[in-house]
Symmetry: C2
Subunit: 174 residues, 2 copies
Amino acid sequence: MSEAVDVVIREAIPDDARELLQLSRQVSIETEYLVMDETGMDLTPEMLAMHLENLYESANNLLLVAFVNDQLVGNASVKSSQEHRVAHIGEVGISILKEFWGIGLGSLLMEEILYWAQESQVIRRLELTVQAQNERAIHLYEKVGFKLEATMARGARDNQGAFLDVHLMSLMID
Amino acid sequence: MSEAVDVVIREAIPDDARELLQLSRQVSIETEYLVMDETGMDLTPEMLAMHLENLYESANNLLLVAFVNDQLVGNASVKSSQEHRVAHIGEVGISILKEFWGIGLGSLLMEEILYWAQESQVIRRLELTVQAQNERAIHLYEKVGFKLEATMARGARDNQGAFLDVHLMSLMID
């Protein structure tokens, strides 16, 4: 890291599509900690750009991008359904390039998510899944108030095929 | 119910698209018990037919249809991701027209799912969500071996907007 660090966090816009696809590829190579699919990340840049436009307009979906010195180094998402029965539930995902772990980006992104959720007037429950071995992430989620709801046996598999426990955590928004 | 009941359970094929869309609409009017989205059920019949063809070919996705006297009265699905880390996890959903509850169709469909999962050589964990108030369904799931992993606060909402607890249940396949 250079001495002068310029951090920008904002909502993603269609023009971010190309960089987001690059970020997604690099993150998926760097870490085995991912559990969920990265919805949209197998699209072409053009299709992802359209998807980003819809996200930007959505009341219960959010995609944040984090830049350090103008480089896209992380993102955070809240995904929700349009179905009435579950539209108040937002699923949180955060991914950050390994080189930029440990400098507080995860906390910044999570604070933005919580602020957005409280302002949304739609989201009443945030939930996320995280590998039980990912202690750094779990510590962050607990710090901002997420509580363990379940440990899911065989909730994921590592690259060698071994089963991993996955935590389901949630946070009520009032 | 008439006296002679002819029950057929088989995998869905593209020609079932139109009837499946009708079934989905009727079930969603009849019951407040649904939690999950019905993926694909907002498609046109033509697009759903293409989706059904892909499902039919998939090693870790299943859609069963149940006919009583040649009428489509229910379906059961197992949905899985193509992502390596979670491709062994199948999410189970069953829906049956209210008029045909209580005659054992749910058990029949679940038995077929378990048999298919055991034969799949891919599925190693089945999971499902069910409203905590849906005692009839929970009883069925427990009967075939599903265990409670979590009670998710605000896991769904009823038509009046009140929050409902939702159970997360799972069954390991070995």
